[in-house]
Symmetry: C2
């Protein structure tokens, strides 16, 4: 009879320390829930001589073999991040018959299929609740709680850095560079912020969420990505005036007619949408299913303790199965092979901001040009003057991507149009595309 569930931890950074802290602080509760204590037996680190803020009875090692070959270790928690050597270590752990729990969105988004196959072959679990939405329970809800639904839509605010930046821009009228510097100073953005502000981090999460939601494999390359670098205070201001907020959204839709459409881009979202109130570093995932209607999952998308909460939920689930000697078959739910909707065929409403000559008839000329390309306008507003020119803001009805692109090209060629200053999609459930 075992007297504890033993864990090998790969990586001892912020989240690793958080995992240790939660295991120590909530040891009593966790033992009650599992039936046995959960003990971190060994930790893999790069430098075994580095001083750590957390001390305990565990061994520190720089050799992965010490963990792989330790037969007492039941579960490996991978918190190193990145693809190499995390992926190889996890595959080795699986091959050694150890359950794997990870927070690694890169590996899950890009190599999820292989990881599942390997886990299935070795009859072990491969779990990744912490890979999306930090502490927010979303993977288990999608895999277990919404199983009776055909899910048609997932819309998420899944990147805390950009949500913090956009919130600051909205609430304080600051510009992009200022809020980026502030986010970096607070440790919310990295010194190279590309993965966050460019949308890649959110795209990985979108791939994971949509794969599970639609039961089909969505890879990182299947996700269309635009970042927030082109959002200006003027766009934010117009959004406000028109009843919207600007958010970086991960949007995944599935319909029999169009196929699977997964994108990450900034979008105008109506102020009364439940996601519109998700501010600062908070994340939320909004799900539509044909039974549940709408549901939303909200919480802290990052941070040592929230992420540890998600990691340890997986660890506790695995530990319970070990104690019960029960094993639920590993379920890669991607049993469908759905086709994707090419980005040109996706549909959306659009906000278009133009700099035009300030002369009579311009508004009409622009509306006519849009119309000629099959783009129907919801509203056109002539707004503030910029030197001798004026800005015009148009909100279109639902339009196919290839039509709006063609319209933009035509508009750029009009003598009265000086510049298309920005085009941002509008995500409006009242006028669903």
């Amino acid at each position: 009879m075992k007297d504890s569930i033993n864990v090998g931890l790969l990586g001892f950074g912020t989240v690793g320390t958080g995992v240790m802290q939660v295991l120590a602080e909530n040891a009593h509760e966790i033992k009650q829930k599992v039936g046995l204590p959960i003990r971190v037996k060994s930790v893999l680190v790069r430098d075994i001589n580095k001083k750590r803020s957390f001390n305990g009875t565990f061994t520190v090692t720089d050799k992965i073999e010490d963990i792989l070959n330790d037969e007492e270790i039941d579960i490996v928690i991978e918190l190193m991040g990145g693809i190499h050597p995390s992926r190889e270590y996890m595959l080795q752990a699986i091959a050694a018959g150890k359950h794997v729990v990870t927070a690694n969105k890169d590996v899950v988004a890009e190599f999820g299929k292989d990881m599942f196959a390997a886990a299935e072959e070795s009859n072990v679990d491969f779990m990744f609740e912490a890979s999306v939405g930090g502490g927010i329970p979303i993977i288990t809800p999608l895999k277990q709680c919404l199983t009776a639904n055909r899910i048609t839509e997932v819309i998420g605010i899944v990147n805390g850095t950009t949500n913090y930046m956009l919130t600051k821009m909205t609430q304080e009228g600051l510009d992009y560079d200022t809020v980026l510097a502030e986010a970096q100073a607070k440790g919310y953005a990295e010194s190279d912020p590309t993965a966050d502000v460019g949308g890649l981090d959110a795209a990985r999460k979108a791939a994971i969420l949509s794969s599970i939601a639609f039961n089909t494999r969505v890879g990182l390359n299947d996700v269309y990505v635009e970042g927030i670098t082109r959002i200006t205070p003027a766009d934010i201001e117009y959004a406000k005036e028109l009843g919207y907020v600007v958010k970086l959204l991960a949007i995944a839709k599935d319909s029999p007619e169009k196929g699977v459409d997964v994108r990450v881009h900034p979008a105008f979202l109506p102020q009364n949408h439940p996601l519109a109130a998700v501010n600062d570093v908070f994340n939320a995932i909004f799900v539509k299913g044909n039974a549940i209607g709408e549901a939303m999952f909200y919480g802290r998308g990052a941070g040592a303790l929230p992420t540890a909460s998600a990691v340890l939920a997986d660890v506790i689930a695995v530990a319970r199965d070990i104690v019960d000697e029960s094993f639920s078959r590993v379920r890669c739910t991607c049993y469908e092979h759905k086709s994707f909707c090419p980005v040109e065929a996706t549909e959306s409403s659009y906000y278009v901001r133009l700099l035009v000559e300030d002369e009579p008839g311009v508004l009409g000329a622009i509306a006519t040009a849009f119309g000629a390309e099959g783009v129907s306008l919801n509203s056109v507003i002539q707004t503030r003057k910029v030197n001798k020119r004026a800005e015009i803001v148009a909100i279109t009805h639902c339009v196919e991507e290839k039509k709006i692109r063609k319209a933009a090209e035509v508009l750029r060629g009009l003598p009265v149009v000086n510049e298309i200053r920005n085009m941002i999609r509008v995500e409006n459930p009242q006028e669903a595309c």
Copy 2:
């Protein structure tokens, strides 16, 4: 080898029909997820001659024995509601070795302990995701996803009827009787609305949620309950002016010092609280844990299809275990025996609305009276005149219930105080008690 998972359905009302509909519509997905189709084999109804809107290959019976004695039936879904004979039927099904899935908050809140014990003895599952929050996944998240946390607080909007009514009162300035009539006309409120407007329905859900969250048995009688019947348009108006909305909240708190404190009552909630934007018949449950920080679960709290979504999530979980021949030990998580905080010792801020004589020095007299009873005021506002009198609105700092009650008694005795028109708790996380 089985060729389907067979269900016996008790009750064929709105939710029962919803379950049938979702099983039919999503049969392909559900079969993929389970490995076998889920088939409703028999339905228990009161009148077998009644015309049904849903037809299928199932048998309709008015004898519970037909289901209990049918060895092919693996899972019994109970959707009759109420205590009798639902509870007896479920116990009989459990004794017959059948897994039980229910949406019955009455039985779970009042007899959960016995149901768990019976299920444990028979080695079957007893599941009740649909008993709280309709379609919203909350039981599984609490039992599985937040297991690494010590949960300190659960605040829920868990009654759709009253949330609809308060939303209408807030958005349209209508009075209680008008919105109640409207809710009844729309089918949101029953002809006898007592259980909803009096808070009893929410109290049952509060008992269920807090039992799981705090790992201790909270019965219906342990919940302090006030309904919304005394909320007036004036209170709603003052709330708005002061930056709050009025919601009927189920509040559960657990602290080592005070013990477990579970209440249902209307409360002022700051407009920027995530729960403040939960309107109409939507429900949401806000959870605080020592690892996750804050999380919120939002969705439709009632309705045939959302409730069917929750019921079938449980059914699918049980069905997967049957297919995998894996069985996770039934877990009554109430392994603690925590003490309760008596209501007199609970703490809250308060909104107090008084009708007073409109004469100099009244405001001072009242503030002095509060102070003498140890009630510290955050703000006192002399507001509109009512005939020759005036209304005064005070917001207190955190105060023990027994002190505010004593203060109210003293105030009622003051010659300048004509009437205490209302007292409503203020739930402000910025000034947590």
